[in-house]
């Protein structure tokens, strides 16, 4: 058992601290992210998944993100809230790393955790991340781009054209290409991530070597380890957490937009003009007036018609003995 502890690989140590610390901090960061999103200060847009991963591993990406953005022009989202989120992540990560590392030192390494362990691990991991993560970004991007090009070329090879009349079907081609470049870039990403975690593990191991061995029986150690995970004053913790929960809930419902915040351009609700309110008496009056005016117009037309008839009859009577040249129809051009 003691040998196992001594020979624990740096990768195992680094992973054993970073993985639980990231999850521990992520809960708090998620709550902050909700409030900032509700305020409309953050817009993750299309690269949501990448932004979440960067936030998740913020102990190593907090300084690396501005470098990646400056060097490679990459964007993880928009808005001042994103900067606030990463600044607020710093104390949260220090707390989470401290909590996890203390228990890890005692339970897995059987060493007395030194004071200020969280801060000590955080600044080292952030510093390593500032150099290592942009390098990882560049290598993985380079390898992925080239792997995609290579997989395109492979899929268009003559050998595959013989499989069917028109070459590979679309679904098979996508699957094949994705398998080729996905495997290559995943393998490179995994290898580089392991190297990064291992570097962190080596630093932690060096810190552990300088620490005093933990004294006491196994049961005693476990009791100490267990008590380390809970605060001394549990009542105070519960009360303060309940208070924070209430404040966060009130803030959330106060700032949450009542109507949908950003309807997509493609799917806007069609503007419908409201119909005029139907007023029966007004409608009847207007209809009656209209009928009256139309009746008057009709009467006028009837009158005009009968006048014309009478005029025609009179003119016929007068022109009884006259020649046809005198008729008004002929007289007009």
């Amino acid at each position: 058992m003691a040998e196992e502890r001594e020979s624990m690989s740096p990768t195992k140590i680094g992973f054993g601290i970073l993985w639980p610390a990231c999850w521990t901090a992520m809960v708090v960061k998620a709550v902050i992210a909700v409030l900032l999103l509700t305020m409309g200060l953050v817009h993750f847009e299309g690269r949501f998944g990448l932004a979440v991963i960067m936030l998740f591993i913020s102990p190593v990406t907090v300084f690396a993100i501005p470098i990646i953005m400056a060097l490679f022009g990459a964007h993880f989202g928009e808005g001042i809230g994103l900067e606030i989120l990463f600044w607020l992540s710093i104390p949260v990560d220090i707390w989470a790393l401290g909590l996890v590392a203390r228990t890890f030192f005692l339970e897995r390494l059987r060493k007395e955790p030194p004071d200020g362990l969280g801060l000590a691990i955080w600044w080292r991991s952030a510093l390593i991340g500032a150099f290592f993560v942009p390098l990882l970004w560049w290598i993985v991007s380079f390898v992925t781009d080239n792997a995609i090009t290579a997989s395109h070329s492979m899929a268009e090879m003559e050998a595959f054209r013989h499989l069917t009349d028109t070459g590979l079907p679309v679904a098979e081609r996508i699957g094949l290409e994705l398998t080729i470049w996905g495997s290559i870039s995943s393998a490179v990403l995994a290898a580089l991530s392991l190297i990064g975690v291992s570097i962190l593990g080596q630093i932690v191991r060096r810190m552990a070597e300088e620490s005093r061995p933990a004294a006491g029986s196994y049961q005693g150690l476990i009791t100490r380890w267990d008590l380390m995970r809970v605060p001394a004053d549990q009542g105070l913790l519960l009360t303060s957490l309940a208070g924070v929960g209430v404040v966060c809930s009130l803030m959330f419902w106060t700032i949450l937009p009542v109507t949908t915040p950003h309807p997509h351009e493609c799917c806007k609700k069609p503007d419908v003009e409201a119909e005029q309110v139907f007023k029966p008496s007004q409608s009847l009056n207007s209809t009656a007036q209209r009928v009256a005016s139309l009746t008057a117009q009709l009467d006028a037309l009837e009158q005009q018609k009968s006048d014309k008839k009478n005029q025609k009859a009179k003119s016929k009577g007068k022109a009884g003995g006259k020649t046809t040249e005198d008729s008004p129809a002929k007289a007009k051009p």
Binding site: P20, V27, V31, G175, Y218, C266, K269
Partner: protein, 375 residues
């Protein structure tokens, strides 16, 4: 332990408060303290763990889905004439309606993710083995119910996406031998999806499935308590014994943190991508390329492969493959009788799980890339 002996000594001057009186009143009638002790004092071998939170999280998500679903039902009209308009009304006119609908929508995805995570944890921990076979079987039935929840809920907004996803889904079900035709006719209620389909999907979604889920979840919990937690698959007896703890308070605390995380995560998704509807459902898809919900995309892409074309190919992909997979899952605890639970000493199980996850991820991404070829 005898409960009478564990009762603290009575202080003569102590006057019980109103709450204490109420608790005593209820305890006398329903055995409140005994119930509380049974529920909270469950020993967890090896102590509390984050890996055990998924079951409680699933219960929480279901409760939230029920709550948001009931609130949505106050405005939703399940008729072909009004379903679309009432959903638009919820999104655009009801106070916070957009958020409730978006939370409900993303909550269903969270439920599927957590069910898969829970099943993966049980599989990797070897917690389906004797004496937990029945627990595993009821869990599989619950998985089926969660998937059906997603399928039936997808139609309700009655837009093009809903209509065509359901049409494709029902056509796949139609290919099932013997019962396929009946299931398809029963679900559609006519030659094409219409009012009858909407009514049936609505009843299934808001009445039958919740009742079935509650009953089976109760049975699942009962079987879990009878079989007791499996505990970790590694560690010496001394270590497991030293770390063994009760369900309360540490595991409950972890469960609560997990629930808070899932709640925050679902809120983030609802705020990032609120639900928007496409055009109202119509028998002509127009420019829209029908596709199912994201968690079925891998399967949809799988069915696009040449091997699954033609009548036999379609049967193979749409029916035989999922049925064989489900039969394997059902039979798993009965043919894997090796008591070894350590996943690193069960290479076939580990490789199978990794292969399934890789296929799901690979074909889901492939399906997204495939959209470019359709447009």
């Amino acid at each position: 332990m005898d409960m009478k002996h564990s009762t603290p000594a009575v202080i003569p001057d102590h006057q019980p408060s109103a709450i204490e009186k109420l608790v005593a009143f209820l305890d006398e009638r329903v055995g409140l303290k005994e119930m509380q002790a049974k529920m909270l004092n469950e020993p967890i071998p090896g102590g509390s763990r984050w890996a055990y939170v998924f079951g409680s999280i699933l219960l929480f998500i279901f409760a939230m889905q029920a709550l948001t679903g009931v609130l949505l039902m106050f405005y939703y009209v399940p008729t072909a004439d009004h379903a679309y308009d009432s959903t638009q009304f919820i999104i655009h006119d009801v106070d916070y309606g957009w958020f409730l609908l978006s939370y409900h929508f993303w909550g269903s995805s969270a439920m599927v993710v957590c069910v898969v995570a829970h099943m993966s944890q049980v599989f990797l921990w070897g917690a389906y083995k004797k004496p937990r076979e029945l627990l595993w079987l009821v869990g599989l039935a619950l998985f089926g119910i969660v998937i059906t929840f997603g399928f039936t809920g997808y139609l309700l907004p009655w837009d093009q996406r809903a209509f065509w996803a359901t049409t494709v889904g029902v056509e796949i079900l139609d290919k099932t031998p013997v019962v396929g035709d009946f299931i398809a006719r029963f679900l559609k209620g006519g030659p094409t999806p219409g009012q009858m389909t909407l009514s049936r999907f609505f009843v299934l979604h808001v009445m039958i499935l919740p009742a079935a889920l509650m009953a089976l979840a109760g049975l699942h919990l009962f079987l879990f308590r009878v079989a007791a937690p499996a505990g970790p698959f590694t560690g010496s007896k001394e270590e497991i014994k030293a770390k063994t703890d009760y369900f309360f308070p540490r595991q409950i605390w972890k469960d609560m943190v997990g629930m808070a995380f899932v709640f925050a995560g679902t809120c983030v998704l609802a705020l990032w991508e609120p639900v928007v509807l496409l055009d109202q459902a119509a028998p002509d898809p127009g420019d829209y390329h029908p596709e199912p919900e994201w968690y079925f995309l891998f399967y949809f892409q799988l069915l696009r492969l040449k091997i699954f074309s033609g009548e036999f190919g379609q049967f193979l992909g749409a029916v035989a493959l999922p049925v064989i997979f489900m039969i394997l899952l059902v039979a798993l605890p009965f043919f894997d009788k090796d008591p070894e639970r350590n996943i690193f000493k069960r290479p076939i199980a580990l490789i199978s799980w990794i292969a399934i996850m890789v296929v799901i991820v690979l074909f889901t991404v492939a399906s997204v890339i495939n959209r470019e070829f359709l447009d």
